[in-house]
């Protein structure tokens, strides 16, 4: 078909459309995700030693960094879901992510200094993995549904960012009720779960959103 004919056909089909605002949708999702996770935290109840943990500046910084990572990753996903926005928006959550991961690494070193080699013993915490992936994956799906149209041009990046947003917020929520002291355990189990949700998002989003 001739390009001019195609343009004429498309113009004949110019039904009114309502512009979507990806960022507003991301904010809506953030509200929903925070409400859901808060509800789950309330249902489980705070961990008994929460007050002691909050007193530790390193723990506080780490927790706020995980929340910031979630919020900034959701904003980045929305920006990337707008065609024509620079791909550099993917870097928005990186500083918070670095602080978060460095905080977990610092916690490991502090544990080793305090407890010696026994701090390096790694147990299993399937509940961490289960919560972050089990709540993170549906939240990821909701965000991708909200951003689906604009995300179709770079589905992999948007989905990875959406996965990071969902998993980081779940990790922050989990830290409030799940009793896990060893920093190595947190680094490995939270880190693995977040990476899994991101990778799952990137792979499934690429298939589900591409047009």
């Amino acid at each position: 078909m001739d390009t001019d004919d195609l343009i004429a056909r498309l113009a004949a089909d110019a039904r009114p459309v309502t512009p979507v605002h990806a960022e507003r949708r991301a904010m809506l999702w953030l509200g929903f995700a925070i409400a859901l996770i808060t509800g789950l935290v309330a249902w489980h109840g705070f961990r008994p030693d929460l007050a002691d943990r909050v007193d530790l500046p390193a723990e506080r910084i780490q927790w706020f960094a995980s929340v910031a990572t979630g919020i900034l990753a959701a904003i980045a996903a929305a920006r990337l879901a707008e065609p024509g926005r620079p791909a550099a928006w993917a870097l928005l959550p990186v500083p918070a992510l670095v602080v978060w991961v460095a905080g977990m690494g610092f916690g490991c070193l502090a544990d080793i200094a305090r407890l010696g080699p026994s701090a390096m013993v790694l147990g299993t915490s399937w509940s961490c993995l289960g919560f972050i992936t089990g709540v993170g994956a549906p939240l990821l799906a909701v965000l991708l549904y909200l951003l689906r149209d604009g995300a179709s041009l770079r589905p992999g990046r948007v989905s990875a960012m959406a996965g990071l947003a969902a998993a980081a917020l779940c990790s922050a929520g989990l830290s409030l009720f799940h009793h896990l002291d060893a920093a190595l355990m947190i680094l490995v189990w939270h880190g693995t779960a977040v990476a899994l949700v991101c990778a799952f998002g990137a792979v499934t989003g690429r298939v589900a959103l591409a047009r």
Partner: protein, 214 residues
């Protein structure tokens, strides 16, 4: 003695234009600048989002050369460029609600055109790969055969080639089977181009004779 140039009169050109009446006929470039000036595409697109078919038609027509320019950065063949432009137009149509009227239109258009050009380039690469794969499969079928008769013929051919003198076998392999240019085949076989041609010709003649093909 210092030299001085005549001071350039900024009004001179304007006077000439006025005197000759040229100013009455705006140039085509100026006309286009008036039509495609900053914000015009955006204004058309806002109207298009509201359902104005004429504005939509205008913005699509105006942006087609721009889309073509973006696609040309990834694609060489004019037909491929046009494929990408048409794919981009279809995507623009289905995603027109994702353009934020507060943002410039060109980056949005460029992102769509670039994505579709990449898709066309990948599609062509895959098609090229499949064609090579099919040719390779044909070669395999030719030499191995699928039934007893073909297998016997392939064996007969291999035996006939094996019986050729060394120089003829090498010439045949390089010039006909590996399909090298004559110069390169000659260099690799150590024969002159003339000798290579003769050796190939004689090898083919011997094979025809051995296999009873005329």
């Amino acid at each position: 003695m210092p030299t001085s140039t005549a001071p350039h009169s900024p009004g001179l050109m304007a006077d000439v234009i006025r005197a000759t009446g040229l100013a009455l006929a705006p140039s085509r470039a100026r006309l286009r600048a008036m039509q495609d000036g900053p914000g015009v595409w955006e204004a058309w697109m806002v109207a298009a989002q509201a359902g104005d078919g004429a504005a939509y038609n205008a913005v699509l027509r105006a942006c087609a050369p721009y889309l073509r320019g973006v696609a040309r950065r990834r694609l060489r063949e004019p037909a491929s460029v046009e494929d990408a432009v048409q794919d981009a137009l279809l995507t623009i149509h289905s995603l027109r609600h994702t353009w934020d009227p507060e943002r410039p239109l060109r980056p949005w258009l460029a992102a769509i055109a670039d994505r579709r050009a990449i898709d066309v380039a990948r599609r062509e690469l895959r098609r090229g790969g499949r064609e090579v794969a099919v040719e390779a499969a044909d070669d395999l079928a030719d030499t191995r055969g699928t039934d007893a008769e073909e297998r016997a013929a392939a064996m007969q051919l291999r035996r006939a080639i094996a019986d050729l003198p060394e120089s003829q076998r090498t010439a045949l392999r390089l010039a006909k089977i590996e399909d090298l240019p004559l110069g390169e085949a000659a260099a690799r076989s150590g024969l002159s181009v003339g000798a290579l041609k003769v050796a190939t010709h004689r090898a083919m003649a011997t094979l025809r004779k051995r296999l009873g093909v005329e």
